[in-house]
């Protein structure tokens, strides 16, 4: 049993190392790419909403980044998930290893990119004369764990079903784009009109993304949002895992 766990850990290590190595082959440029994408997004929204539409939010650049970085982790993983099994078809057809480790490492490596991008948030905090808070010490690990579970759940669902419905990949892209605008990332939840407010927490990503932003900007971790997002993430994981369990033994047939 111990050997089995050791092997799991080793599998996760090599699979993650592989992705990181491929991405960072050109060392520093690789790092720039992984923060460049969300930063470019932030700039676009900053120009559109702050410069052109003059939205009334203070420190809007910082506000954007604090929400966009964790969002990028989620959406990168979910969008990549549709291809992870297809991309490893030749191994899946021949070797019997725990396939769920492939989406697992996908989420893990996107999490690592996100963690590596946190210094950029700190930099922006300093630019706006703010500083990191001590609550990050427990807040960041807690939110990392919750988001990992939730993202992994979504990824298991998308990656497993995409083998059977190959156009799900396109739907996943549409889904993440829609979710992006329905989640208070480029706007604060306080700006949502009163009559739609009740809808906000139906979106499983809202409490999580709002928690990240509150933590980064104000050093506050709201226990209620934490519990709601934890509940959502457990549900997302359970649904994803059940779908995976039901379909995984058919992977080699359909590939």
């Amino acid at each position: 049993m111990n050997l089995k766990i050791q092997h799991y850990i080793d599998l996760i290590t090599v699979l993650t190392q592989k992705e990181i190595k491929v991405r960072y082959k050109n060392s520093f440029l690789g790092y720039l790419w992984s923060i460049g994408h969300p930063l470019a997004f932030a700039m676009v929204f900053f120009i559109a909403f702050k410069v052109v539409m003059r939205i009334q939010i203070e420190d809007y650049a910082l506000f954007l980044i604090a929400g966009l970085f964790p969002w990028q982790w989620f959406s990168n993983s979910v969008n990549a998930a549709s291809m992870v099994f297809l991309g490893n078809a030749s191994i899946i057809k021949k070797v019997n290893f725990p396939r769920n480790l492939i989406p697992f490492t996908q989420v893990l490596q996107d999490m690592i990119h996100f963690i590596l991008a946190i210094p950029v948030i700190v930099l922006f905090l300093f630019i706006y004369h703010k500083s990191p808070s001590l609550s990050w010490v427990y807040g960041i690990p807690a939110l990392l764990a919750i988001q990992f579970l939730m993202t992994y759940g979504f990824c298991l669902t998308v990656s497993s079903t995409n083998l059977f419905f190959r156009d799900l990949e396109r739907l996943a892209v549409i889904f993440t784009t829609l979710m992006f605008y329905f989640t208070p990332i480029i706007y604060p939840e306080s700006m949502i009109p009163e009559r739609y407010k009740y809808l906000v927490n139906i979106n499983p990503l809202t409490p999580l993304m709002v928690s990240w932003r509150n933590l980064f900007l104000n050093g506050i971790l709201d226990p209620l949002s934490l519990i709601i997002s934890l509940t959502y993430s457990i549900f997302a994981f359970m649904i994803g895992y059940l779908i995976y369990r039901r379909l995984s033994w058919k992977f080699a047939e359909v590939l």
């Binding site: 190392q17 190595k21 057809k93």
Partner: protein
């Protein structure tokens, strides 16, 4: 009688034709009745009522035309497919020899790929590190192992693949038509290595179209025709039957 390590008991394997699904949700919804109907009724039969046993230390050959069901049989042994009927029992760790370059990542170096592949096949990282030198030595790719394998030729990839599998200390080795690539020298080396495995008591299942290799290595051969076992027995007799039939 030796102990059987692979047992097929009246095994049949059929799958639904997935193309109605894999055409996508859009397709499936637009042709809903037809899609459901075809999922329920049209099944592709890959194997029918196959029974055989492979004993420990035996080298078992499988021959037959393309699409006869050889790879499905290997898939069932490897445990990536489940039989639709009957039982498959396998005792021992299985090492499949992957097709050319499968499980490799082209941007990684030879060494990194050895690690990746070794762990995927069931070894721990420490075990792979210990065998690293031996594997590189056997592959004769010492000068190239620090280069990304996208620069390798297909023969070199085959060398790397076989070298990894050959050093996994397999209990049951599955070889699916792999030796065709690679130069003569390396093919001979592979055959020698397989002979060595044979001596040391490794069970091997060997799929090939090369009757010469099958005849030389295998103890027993099964001929699969039209998704079912047509003949099973001494290599000479089965090969004669198969080649006679093909002409």
């Amino acid at each position: 009688m030796k102990e059987p390590v692979i047992i097929f008991n009246d095994v049949s394997k059929s799958y639904p034709l997935y193309h109605h699904l894999t055409g996508g949700i859009k397709n499936f919804l637009f042709h809903l009745p037809r899609g459901i109907n075809s999922l329920k009724n049209s099944r592709f039969e890959a194997l029918r009522d196959i029974s055989f046993e492979v004993c420990r230390g035996e080298t078992f050959g499988i021959i037959g035309r393309n699409g006869a069901g050889k790879s499905t049989t290997l898939g069932l042994i490897a445990g990536v497919l489940k039989p639709s009927k009957g039982r498959v029992i396998v005792k021992g760790r299985i090492s499949p020899l992957l097709e050319l370059g499968a499980g490799f990542h082209h941007e990684l170096t030879g060494k990194e790929n050895i690690m990746l592949n070794g762990v995927l096949m069931g070894l721990t990282r420490a075990e792979v590190s210990r065998k690293m030198n031996e594997i590189i030595e056997f592959s004769e790719l010492r000068d190239f192992v620090d280069q990304p394998i996208r620069t390798y030729s297909s023969g070199m990839l085959a060398r790397l693949g076989f070298s990894i599998v050959a050093h996994l200390e397999p209990e049951i080795l599955l070889i699916d038509e792999i030796l065709a690539v690679g130069d003569m020298g390396f093919q001979k080396k592979c055959i020698d290595k397989m002979m060595g495995f044979k001596k040391s008591g490794v069970t091997m299942v060997f799929v090939s179209h090369s009757m010469e290799d099958i005849g030389r290595i295998c103890d027993r051969v099964m001929w699969i025709e039209n998704h079912t076992a047509r003949m099973l027995g001494e290599p000479k007799a089965v090969i004669a039957g198969y080649t006679g039939n093909s002409q």
